[in-house]
């Protein structure tokens, strides 16, 4: 393990700036936040928080929404990403560009896109009015938030899928085909397992983003019952710093726990690429 070309003092010197930024502007503030959230007596404050029905319902809704968004995003993006990465056709680059340019959209813009689609003056409403005589408006609810997070996550995961798909070993697939495996079998037994580490990583990021995002919800409606909105309301309207701090730490812990769980379930595969 002794590495002559990379002495210890250089290792320390190269990592130190990043670590210093992290310690000063994240870890130290986080410790302070925990202290604020404890409000003098840690256990009672958190017990009150965790037994509060409204907060817990909001937390449950946030987790369910994030999980649903992650699952839907992974399925859709894998289908699209495989098509884009493995087929040559006219206009392929244009299609890649169209599917990935919303990468740069912040949550607020995504919220506006959902309003454009499913809002009061939206396209879906206009179409459904003509077809069924009823105006479908779902932008300002949980369904709108689901659409928004899907919009937000799909381009990101497509990029990951395309990157992993271009690293696939074509000879494995050819071997499977030459042994008589159907396309479906090849997909299930060769392609998806090869993509799995990338998908787990992308899915984890997707889940974490959906848990913490609040730009989209902020644009759609301030009364959507997800935890980031609850935290925001506690902080600004009620000026309740203790509860806001406590809830954001609970949200952080839940996110972290789910990520760790996902990683340990697929442990070997993820560790191999880490």
């Amino acid at each position: 393990m002794h590495d002559l070309t990379f002495p210890l003092r250089w290792r320390v010197a190269l990592v130190a700036p990043a670590l210093a930024v992290f310690l000063a502007f994240w870890l130290l503030p986080m410790v302070a936040l925990v202290q604020v959230s404890a409000d003098g007596h840690l256990i009672e404050t958190y017990r009150a928080l965790l037994t509060n029905g409204r907060y817990m319902k909001s937390l449950g809704a946030t987790v369910a929404l994030s999980a649903a968004v992650t699952a839907a995003t992974l399925v859709i993006s894998t289908i699209c990403g495989l098509l884009l990465a493995r087929r040559a056709f006219a206009g392929r680059r244009a299609l890649v560009a169209l599917l990935t340019f919303p990468l740069a959209f912040p949550g607020v813009v995504v919220g506006f896109m959902v309003i454009m689609l499913a809002g009061r003056q939206g396209l879906i409403g206009a179409l459904s009015l003509r077809l069924t005589g009823e105006r479908w408006v779902f932008a300002y609810s949980m369904a709108g938030l689901f659409a928004g997070y899907l919009y937000f996550s799909i381009p990101r995961v497509i990029v990951t899928v395309m990157a992993s798909a271009s690293q696939l070993d074509a000879s494995l697939e050819e071997a499977a085909r030459s042994l008589g495996a159907s396309s479906w079998r090849v997909l299930c037994d060769v392609i998806v397992p090869a993509l799995a580490p990338g998908l787990v990583a992308a899915g984890a990021v997707c889940f974490a983003t959906a848990m913490g995002a609040f730009g989209t919800a902020f644009t759609l409606a301030t009364d959507i019952d997800v935890l980031p909105m609850t935290i925001y309301t506690e902080f600004t309207l009620n000026a309740n710093m203790v509860t806001a701090a406590g809830l954001s730490i609970v949200l952080g812990l839940v996110t972290w726990a789910v990520l760790t769980l996902a990683r340990s379930m697929t442990g070997g595969a993820v560790a191999a690429t880490a």
Binding site: F6, V15, R86, L95, P106, I154, F218
Partner: protein
């Protein structure tokens, strides 16, 4: 080689007197056609889902009255109104993004390289720690920053406060791609070669590490810039009336002004970020599947499908 691995190559199944094989192949190819067809439908529907609202908002930002539709005429009035009211937010966002990029380059690139090169438990731990600000909700990070630094009012009131939040949040997006590229490039062997020829550490870093890490650095820079320009979760909590970035201005507009103005502001946002993305792609972020290696594989697939 090709005829061996290609299942539809002549000689494998086409020998006379084997009708079952032919039938199975027909069934297989029709199943494959269905799968391919379904894949196209999903992809095009996803594309419509992503692109249609963008097109609608561009149209809405240019029409006189969106409620009455494009028939009411086209105008640049809304764009003009947004620009006079909010142009400072555009420049502030660009400045914040540039400052964030400079800091993440200076701190993230060396860290990514060092973490990729040293396989100790401590460096894994540091890698994990650096990702925490992304894994955990931005709201928590913002509240935490306010708790500690909210009292330093000169710092609190300046754009530097937002830059700090952005740096912490975007740093892993620089560290990870750089580390990934460094880990796959077998830098150790290259560096040992250079060291045996007498190159110093600094020489090796600038002539071996940085050129090899370039794809990771460019990918990281792209991520950092786009994330910083679009960051809202942290920025909304950290901003003051004097430090409104573009997404903060957008949220204001969506909440309080008519849909044409919101759309016009969104057009402004598109105009600002699109050239950036295109430029970064030109600079060498490899869109997967466009490299020469993949092109070969692609034509092979095409041959198979056309059989």
């Amino acid at each position: 080689m090709n005829s061996l691995v290609n299942p539809t190559a002549p000689g494998m199944h086409d020998a006379p007197g084997q009708p079952p094989a032919t039938r199975r192949r027909l069934a297989l190819s029709s199943a494959r056609a269905w799968l391919a067809c379904a894949q196209w439908v999903v992809t095009l529907a996803t594309c419509a889902f992503l692109v249609v609202p963008v097109a609608m908002s561009i149209i809405a930002g240019l029409t006189v009255n969106y409620f009455r539709g494009a028939a009411s005429g086209l105008t640049l009035r809304w764009l003009d109104q947004v620009w006079t009211q909010y142009h400072s937010s555009v420049f502030l966002s660009l400045e914040v993004a540039a400052a964030t990029l400079v800091i993440t380059l200076a701190t993230g690139v060396p860290a990514g390289y060092a973490l990729a090169r040293s396989r100790t438990r401590l460096s894994r731990l540091i890698e994990e720690l650096l990702v925490l600000p992304v894994a955990l909700p931005g709201l928590a990070s913002a509240l935490a920053l306010l708790v500690v630094y909210g009292g330093f009012s000169a710092f609190r009131m300046s754009a530097a406060f937002i830059v700090v939040g952005h740096v912490v949040f975007t740093l892993p997006f620089m560290v990870r791609p750089v580390a990934a590229v460094c880990a796959s490039a077998d830098l150790r062997t290259l560096e040992e070669g250079a060291a045996s020829l007498g190159a110093t550490f600094v020489q090796r870093f600038t002539t071996i590490v940085l050129p090899n890490a370039r794809p990771g650095i460019v990918a990281g820079a792209l991520a950092v810039l786009t994330l910083s320009i679009g960051e809202f979760n942290l920025t909304w909590m950290l901003h003051t009336p004097d430090t409104k970035t573009l997404p903060v201005g957008l949220a204001d507009t969506y909440a309080s002004l008519r849909i044409e103005v919101g759309s016009a502001y969104t057009i402004l946002f598109f105009l600002m970020t699109m050239p950036l993305l295109v430029a970064m792609q030109w600079l060498g972020v490899d869109v997967p599947g466009t490299g020469s290696k993949r092109r070969n594989a692609g034509t092979q697939n095409e041959n198979k499908d056309s059989e």
